[in-house]
Symmetry: C2
Subunit: 331 residues, 2 copies
Amino acid sequence: MDQRPRLDDVAARVGVSTASVSLVLRGAPGPSAETRRRVLEAAAELGYRADRTASMLARRRRHLLGVMLDIRNPFHAELVEEIQAEADRVGYEVVLSTLTRHRDEERAVETLLDFRCEAVLLLGPDFTDKRLGALAGQVPVVTIGRRVADRDVDVVRSADHLGVAESLAHLIGLGHRRIAFVDGGRGAVAAARRRGYRDAMRRAGLQDEIRIIPGDHTEEGGIRAGRLLAVADDRPTAVVASNDRLAVGLMDAFLRAGLEVPHQVSIVGYDDSTLARLAHIDLTTINQDAPAQAKFAVSAAVQRLDEGRRERVETVLNPHLVIRGSTAPPP
Amino acid sequence: MDQRPRLDDVAARVGVSTASVSLVLRGAPGPSAETRRRVLEAAAELGYRADRTASMLARRRRHLLGVMLDIRNPFHAELVEEIQAEADRVGYEVVLSTLTRHRDEERAVETLLDFRCEAVLLLGPDFTDKRLGALAGQVPVVTIGRRVADRDVDVVRSADHLGVAESLAHLIGLGHRRIAFVDGGRGAVAAARRRGYRDAMRRAGLQDEIRIIPGDHTEEGGIRAGRLLAVADDRPTAVVASNDRLAVGLMDAFLRAGLEVPHQVSIVGYDDSTLARLAHIDLTTINQDAPAQAKFAVSAAVQRLDEGRRERVETVLNPHLVIRGSTAPPP
DNA sequence: GGCGCCTTTTAAAGCGCTTTAATTGCCAGT
DNA sequence: ACTGGCAATTAAAGCGCTTTAAAAGGCGCC
């Protein structure tokens, strides 16, 4: 309400120019120790804080990273936490733009561009490669979580097919053969995991056991799939889910159908979300190392912005299996 | 990368001043129909979009609402969706600032202020009333979800005690007497619900049955409480949880302990989150009407900003019970 | 005392837009 | 022909900061 103090106010109070104050406040070289002290003191007294809007405009640089996410996705929540922390560390601010029912990816990105973010990080986007390429023509783009063919888009992802392959190796090692997969729907991430399942089954000589149940990366989807599978007469002895939420839905449906997990049926998830770690869910799943992905993504952006990198970079992390209580040998 | 077009570029292309272009683009009166047409055309051709940073600075008004939330909270996710939509409708932009492990409320709000949001909406803040009052001295503040005593802070909340009272009325109506409450921890929201439980139990003459299990608004907390309750020899016949996540944890723990819900024990949640609606969770719970809360909150802010309201307003919505499958008469 | 060389400070030119007051051009009215 | 009035347009002054080039001061040295 009462106007916040401006640079002028601080300058007037100390009796120096605004230039000096600006220099001091950003720790730039120039001002003498004495001036620094007095400016800092005055700023503190007035409770001065710079207006980001104004300083963004004045600096040719904005030091702003845009992040597009789906606020309902717990894995995104984890990533955002880490992105915030890392951005802080390297001196960038973060602006979040979320998908909602009435706000599609196009619109979410538009908002980020209107704020003139210097780079955008897209969490699991479903944009086409072509659209991503076009976007990368306007602003550095880093996608997290999926493969992108375009040669201007930086990518950070974990090797989804390896993750699924590890799950299968684990299950097969336990003696399972009839292993179904609950699908994650149309998205790019889901596609990679589905393909990983198919390939791994084939490589294990289990091509005849391949069975993909449609689904959609939500608990609801898992429940539907679970109901379906629970009553099948050729019920699989193990199920791999395209993500943790599906797995939780599955587990719930199985429990209600009177099936014991893992004794009658094993379940493996994907993401190692906080959900999976809950004592009673205790889900065997694939960890994607969100903190590492966040760090790589932020530094990909920063390298483009501050260090002039031009060539694309693709960082592929190796996911790893976390064995918990939802898997056991087949009955 | 290649500089985005600026106002000048559009103006030059049409052969008019930047002033005219600015007026046209914001639909302000003045420019002739012919000019409008040509400007719009040129803007489209160039793919011009205004730089929000610059226009915010130039306008004395910023048309920016800051929202502080906890990105891990599903109820917050719902609120944010609706806040976005409503803000859109009334011509405001929204900037999100989330709590994380390394970012407390103070810091989250600081970010919003640095962007010079014209008002801030705080989702379920744990600030003290005093701190909120101080904040309200700097910028209009709307809190959502809890009571605040300060006379400058606008409040939108649902009557938590009524919600809990309804839950109890429902359970008592079914014949329950031994009804426990799983607590939500230290926050302001949790306190209101706890109090609601105590009062309602007393009013029903069940003061001797009052039993409050510590907890913390997470699934984990629910699981701990569930384990505890499952083995108690004076096991309650019904449990009211301070929120849905707790309830889901409870339900999970009970199921694993071999207790049937609702036949051996009934559960009621709070929030009516999407989780509660899942076919297999099917939780009886309290609906808080997130869309309505979001609308009231946004319009509270807008009234202060655009219509000069000065007196505080407190909007208290009546929550309502949603009866689903997790409650039944006692065994 | 004058000169060059540092260090510290500051005037002033933006950043890309909005907004207001002033200007221009037209036409009707006298 | 001249004026007043109106609609359309624009020049120019910011918004609150950053940044650069230039100014000012201080010092030692010839």
